[in-house]
């Protein structure tokens, strides 16, 4: 299997706004159903245990013309919900029997209510992930919420969420998380071999594909990368922070890497690795999932930071872990979590003498010249003077 064929598989799924792969999967056996989820985090194990295909809803990006969606949202609200509504209004999400709305921000929270008003035929669930500082209280709450979610999804799918099914799903998702971690490791170690454009479309394909198919394709891709001797290039190593919900257009990711940077860590599609380590398979599976989320989540702006020094230290820690030279703060316009966090994160980065630059984007941004110039200058300044 060639690397090109894996990427063709991934790009086809990334570009397909009609969720054809999901429709095909449903059509393959009677009674199959799919459940969508919005960013940042949803427990895909529970969806799988209910016999459903988890489907990430990440908007229409630059490929979708917004005709109806703008009538639902004011100009000062981010682009993401209007593109999700556009997908729904054009029937593209009709394949989903249920949709989960995590507590990422007030826009996604209220989008849950919009769905309840507009599409009452779809099962809708708001997921209020735990924020309590005490891990015991938080995990206990989240376990109960996961139980309620299991029951709700069982009702939709007709498949009882048993402990056994949950354990199987946890084991499978552990494999998927390991695959994502490996992709990130290989990119971090040899970014010239794994362009972020490729890593990204692979992960996007994983958002709409059965997990076994994703694992197979990821394995093939990694094998192909291993065989590729690849010419080592010297570019500035950067981490891209803030793009955890509304996704940047692929062109923007390419632009950053073509302007003299290697992206060696990022927040794209963060939900697929928010739980950073394997979830124990033995024991009470919901308890395990709850504890893994409470005690083992990556840092994100969507979650409260209990540590007083946490925000100021975060970027320095991430830069060190990725052996990066600098940080690009890339936030969607009107993204409250990212934009409210940015001054705190930037202050910490600058205190650690880490070069930073910042810009805003929308998922449908179509002109990249300004980003190219900005990122190019940033990369050059790192190389020339070791800082912006």
């Amino acid at each position: 299997v060639s690397r090109a064929s894996v990427l063709e598989w991934a790009r086809e799924r990334y570009e397909d706004l009609d969720l054809s792969a999901v429709r095909r999967w449903i059509a393959q056996a009677p009674g199959r159903k799919a459940a969508g989820y919005l960013p940042v985090y949803a427990p895909r194990e529970v969806i799988r245990a209910a016999g459903m295909l988890p489907v990430g809803i990440h908007g229409g990006g630059e490929r979708l013309e917004i005709i109806k969606g703008d009538a639902f949202y004011q100009s000062y609200i981010c682009h993401f919900p209007r593109s999700v509504i556009e997908l729904a209004e054009t029937g593209r999400l009709s394949v989903l029997s249920a949709i989960l709305f995590p507590s990422t921000c007030d826009v996604i929270r209220n989008l849950c209510g919009v769905w309840q008003l507009l599409y009452p035929q779809t099962a809708v669930r708001y997921l209020d992930v735990p924020q309590a500082s005490d891990p015991g209280i938080a995990a206990d709450f989240w376990r109960k919420e996961l139980r309620a979610l299991s029951d709700d999804l069982s009702e939709v799918s007709g498949v009882a969420v048993t402990d056994e099914r949950l354990r199987e799903a946890i084991a499978t998702d552990n494999e998927a998380r390991a695959a994502v971690r490996e992709l990130y490791r290989v990119r971090r170690e040899t970014p010239w071999k794994v362009p972020t454009e490729e890593l990204y479309v692979l992960m996007r394909a994983g958002e709409v594909s059965p997990v076994q198919e994703f694992l197979e394709k990821t394995g093939e891709y990694l094998a192909a990368v291993e065989e590729d001797s690849g010419r080592i290039r010297d570019r500035s190593r950067v981490i891209v922070v803030g793009a955890f919900c509304e996704q940047p257009p692929l062109g923007l990711i390419k632009t950053i890497e073509r302007s003299g940077c290697f992206i060696v860590d990022d927040d794209f599609l963060l939900g697929n690795r928010l739980i950073a380590a394997d979830v124990p398979v033995e024991g009470d599976p919901l308890e395990n999932l709850a504890r893994a989320f409470v005690g083992g989540s990556l840092k994100t702006s969507a979650l409260f930071e209990p540590d007083l020094e946490g925000k100021s230290r975060l970027i320095a820690d991430r830069v060190a872990a990725a052996r990066a030279d600098g940080v690009i703060f890339a936030s969607a316009s009107f993204c409250d979590p990212a934009l409210l966090d940015r001054p705190m994160l930037r202050k910490g980065a600058e205190a650690a003498a880490i070069p930073c630059m910042a810009f805003k984007y929308s998922e449908n941004t179509g002109q990249f010249q300004q980003f190219r110039e900005q990122a190019g200058t940033f990369a050059d300044s790192i190389k020339l003077w070791g800082g912006a």
């Binding site: 989008l111 507009l118 708001y126 924020q131 005490d134 930071e305 934009l339 940015r342």
Partner: protein, 423 residues
């Protein structure tokens, strides 16, 4: 006509000034200071530890009403805060950077504790993460689950109560040096319930015609003490008794409320309003309504710090549980279908001629989803709604001509509906 002021407004002004003076003196008197937010504020509990609450949103809106917010916002944006985010946050930060002189001209003390009651607004979490960096003080988070399914489950209620019991109370004990005294809390909660009865009586007086109150612009004043530092206090009780008496006098006289256009006895349009007001041009905005003879008979903003008109009262017999219920029921913690149901109920019960949404750029908790909400309420009531846009405390987004134009068009449309023969 000149605008008059109600006695209750004067009383409230004195109460607020006294509170700010007490806050200024706190570093000397040793009274602990707890910063917290209006929705989900646990004033009864804070007061039971002899601590003083500071509500940053109140400071921001008061600064805007006194014309100071623009400079504060500019200072925050110069410090790197995005023009896209909540202007309350930036106003507060600008005020802090400028020496933390509060809206009444007295200095605000540093917090001994940031009580992050995470109720109905995501931005609150970031706001206190930012303030924590500035002050370096302890922060305790109270996570109140959103009523996404239209109700609070027993598990969610216990989750909130447990956080209060196991995290918040120990934190308050630590900063105050006082042990938790449930009897004092119970006394405060009983006082809250008394004041809440009076507030509801005042708000529901708008069912009458003419309405003796304006339930949006006027209600902003009426809810001031109960949404801020005075719920559960003897002063709070006294204020609401005085307010109720004042409104009952107006009812007996068949009088309308004082407005910027004078007393509004002849009321041409009865409106329901959703969303917070603009604070930078508060009276100008109000005048756009009152000049046209429009009175607001019910609003959702007056429920942002607690929804009492559907029966909830603080229950002294279940102190922690009732605080969980209170937090959960604040307006912005309710799902959009619940908000739509409230608006429909208000339109019907208060016999409104129309309803308006005032959408503010700063607040996604309110604004995201307001356009579908408008259509839902229109569909269910058969009454066309109006949509206005500005901001909370950033004057750059308040366009008087545009707002006036939209309002006048809306009132003309209501007039045309009246003159149309029934189908």
């Amino acid at each position: 006509m000149t605008a008059g002021k109600d006695r209750s407004m004067e009383l409230q002004k004195e109460m607020l000034a006294g509170h700010y003076r007490r806050l200024e003196a706190a570093p000397d008197t040793g009274e602990p200071v707890v910063y917290t937010f209006v929705p989900g504020n646990l004033t009864e509990l804070i007061r039971s530890f002899d601590a003083l609450p500071v509500l940053p949103e109140i400071n921001a809106l008061q600064s805007a009403m006194r014309g100071r917010s623009q400079g504060y916002i500019a200072a925050a944006e110069r410090a790197g805060h995005s023009e896209d985010v909540c202007s309350y946050v930036k106003c507060d930060l600008g005020m802090l950077k400028g020496g933390n002189i509060g809206p009444t001209g007295t200095r605000l003390p540093k917090p001994d504790l940031l009580l992050l009651s995470y109720t109905g607004c995501y931005t609150f979490m970031k706001w206190f993460e930012i303030l924590r960096e500035e002050y370096g003080c302890p922060t305790v988070l109270l996570h109140v689950p959103y009523q996404g399914e239209g109700r609070q489950t027993p598990e969610q209620r216990e989750y909130v109560a447990r956080q209060i019991r196991e995290e918040l109370i120990p934190a308050l004990e630590k900063v105050s040096g006082q042990p938790y005294d449930e009897e004092r809390l119970v006394e405060n909660l009983a006082r809250s319930a008394r004041a809440e009865d009076d507030l509801v009586s005042v708000l529901q007086s708008a069912r009458l015609s003419p309405s003796p109150i304006d339930a949006y612009f006027g209600a902003v004043y009426y809810v001031g003490p109960i949404f801020s530092a005075f719920r559960g206090t003897p002063e709070g009780i006294a204020y609401y008794e005085a307010l109720r008496t004042e409104v009952e006098e107006r009812v007996r006289g068949g009088l309308g409320p004082e407005t910027p256009s004078g007393r509004l006895d002849r009321q041409k349009y009865r409106l329901v309003v959703e969303g917070p007001p603009n604070w930078t041009h508060f009276r100008d905005f109000w005048r756009m309504f009152s000049d046209e003879g429009a009175v607001v008979v019910a609003s959702t903003y007056s429920k942002v710090g607690g929804t009492y008109d559907f029966g909830f009262r603080h229950d002294p017999s279940d102190p922690l549980g009732t605080m969980a219920d209170y937090c959960s029921g604040c307006y912005t913690n309710r799902s959009l279908p619940e908000r739509a149901a409230m608006l429909v109920r208000y339109v019907r019960e208060y016999q409104a001629d129309g309803f308006l949404i005032h959408s503010v750029k700063s607040c996604n908790s309110f604004s995201a989803g307001q356009l579908p909400l408008l259509r839902e309420v229109e569909k269910r009531t058969g009454i066309p709604g109006g949509f206005l846009e500005s901001d909370l405390v950033d004057a750059r987004y308040f366009s008087p001509a545009n707002l006036k134009n939209r309002l006048e068009s809306y009132f003309q449309m209501l007039e045309a509906r009246r003159s149309r023969p029934e189908a």
